[in-house]
C-alpha cells in the first residue's frame, strides 16, 4: 500500500490523458473526485481498495463514440489498476483549442 495510492492515481491519470478523445481529467460534480495522500492529491482519479474511478472531460467533437473512448482508457489504465475494477465517468465535453466551433 506504501507504493502508494498517489502513485497509482498519477499513473492512471497520465494513461487516461494520453488517450485519444480525453480533453482533461474531471474534478467530480458534487464531491471532488481525487486521491489524497500525505497532503498531496491527484484530481480525476479515485483509488479505492477494489475500484479505480477515472473522471474525464471528453474532447468535442468526439473522435469516436464515448464507449470506445472509455474502452481505450480502461485498456491504458489496466496495467496500473492491479486487481481493481476500472470505472470511467465522463463528466463533460469540452471543445478543443484547435477546433473552430
Amino acid at each position: 500500500m506504501t507504493n502508494g495510492l498517489l502513485q497509482i492515481a498519477r499513473a492512471a491519470s497520465e494513461a487516461a490523458l494520453a488517450t485519444e478523445g480525453v480533453y482533461s481529467m474531471g474534478s467530480g460534480r458534487f464531491v471532488e473526485a481525487a486521491t489524497y495522500e500525505g497532503g498531496d492529491k491527484v484530481t480525476g482519479v479515485v483509488v479505492k481498495p477494489d475500484e479505480l474511478e477515472i473522471h474525464v472531460v471528453a474532447r468535442y467533437p468526439l473522435p469516436k463514440p464515448i464507449p470506445e473512448i472509455s474502452k481505450n482508457i480502461m485498456e491504458r489504465v489496466a496495467p496500473h489498476a492491479g486487481d481493481r475494477k476500472t470505472l470511467v465517468v465522463v463528466e463533460d465535453l469540452e471543445v478543443g483549442a484547435d477546433e473552430n466551433l
Binding site: 463514440p65 464507449p67 475494477k85 470511467v88 465517468v89 465535453l93
Partner: protein
C-alpha cells in the same frame, strides 16, 4: 425520501427518549414527581380510552380507519426507504458512466439544430439499467406542422446520441407552441 424518513425517525426516537426519561422520573418518584400526581388531560384520557378499545377489540369505524391509515403511511415510508436510489449518472455500458449534464447538452444541441425548433429544455434521468430517460420540451411557432417537426426532432436526437454512443432508455418529446419573441431564437 431517505431524508424525510430520517427526519421522521429522529423525531420519533427523540419523543421516545423523552417519554423514557419521564417514565423513569415518575416511576421512581424522583425530584418529587409522582405518578399519582400526573394530571390526565382530556386528550390523554381519550388516547387511553382508544388503546383500551384496541385491546378489547371493540373499535369504532373511525378507530379502524385511523389504524388503517397509520398502517398505510408506515408501509409507504417503508417502501420509500427500501427502494434503491435513482442513480446520479447515466450508465452506458459495463464500467462507463456519463453525467446527466452531458446528455442534456447533447440533446439540446440536437434539438436546437432541428429546423423550426426555437428553443428547448431537457430533463434527463438516469436509470438503473443502461440508458437515460429523456424528457424534451421544444418550442415551435404556432401553426407549424407539429407531427413532422416531432418525428424530425426525434430522429435527430436519436442520431446524435447514437453517434456519441449514449444509450437512450426512453425519449419523450413535447412540443409547445410559443411566441417567437419569448423563445431562445426567433428564426430557425
Amino acid at each position: 425520501m431517505r431524508i424525510f424518513n430520517r427526519i421522521v425517525l429522529i423525531v420519533v426516537l427523540a419523543g421516545l427518549f423523552l417519554l423514557g426519561v419521564y417514565m423513569v422520573v415518575y416511576s421512581f418518584d424522583l425530584f418529587d414527581h409522582k405518578l399519582a400526581s400526573l394530571p390526565f388531560s382530556p386528550a390523554g384520557k381519550s388516547i387511553s380510552g382508544f388503546i383500551g378499545d384496541v385491546t378489547r377489540g371493540s373499535l369504532t369505524v373511525l378507530g379502524v380507519i385511523i389504524l388503517v391509515l397509520v398502517a398505510i403511511v408506515g408501509l409507504i415510508l417503508l417502501i420509500a426507504e427500501l427502494k434503491p436510489r435513482t442513480p446520479q449518472r447515466v450508465r452506458m455500458q459495463k464500467g462507463t458512466y456519463i453525467t446527466r449534464g452531458v446528455v442534456e447538452g447533447e440533446v439540446e444541441e440536437a434539438a436546437e439544430g432541428t429546423p423550426d425548433v426555437l428553443g428547448s429544455t431537457t430533463k434527463v434521468q438516469a436509470k438503473r439499467s443502461p440508458g437515460a430517460k429523456i424528457n424534451l420540451d421544444a418550442n415551435v411557432r404556432r401553426g407549424e406542422n407539429t407531427n413532422a417537426i416531432k418525428s424530425n426532432l426525434q430522429e435527430r436526437v436519436q442520431q446524435r446520441l447514437a453517434r456519441s454512443g449514449i444509450p437512450v432508455g426512453s425519449l419523450k418529446i413535447r412540443l409547445n407552441e410559443s411566441d417567437p419573441r419569448e423563445t431562445k431564437t426567433r428564426v430557425q
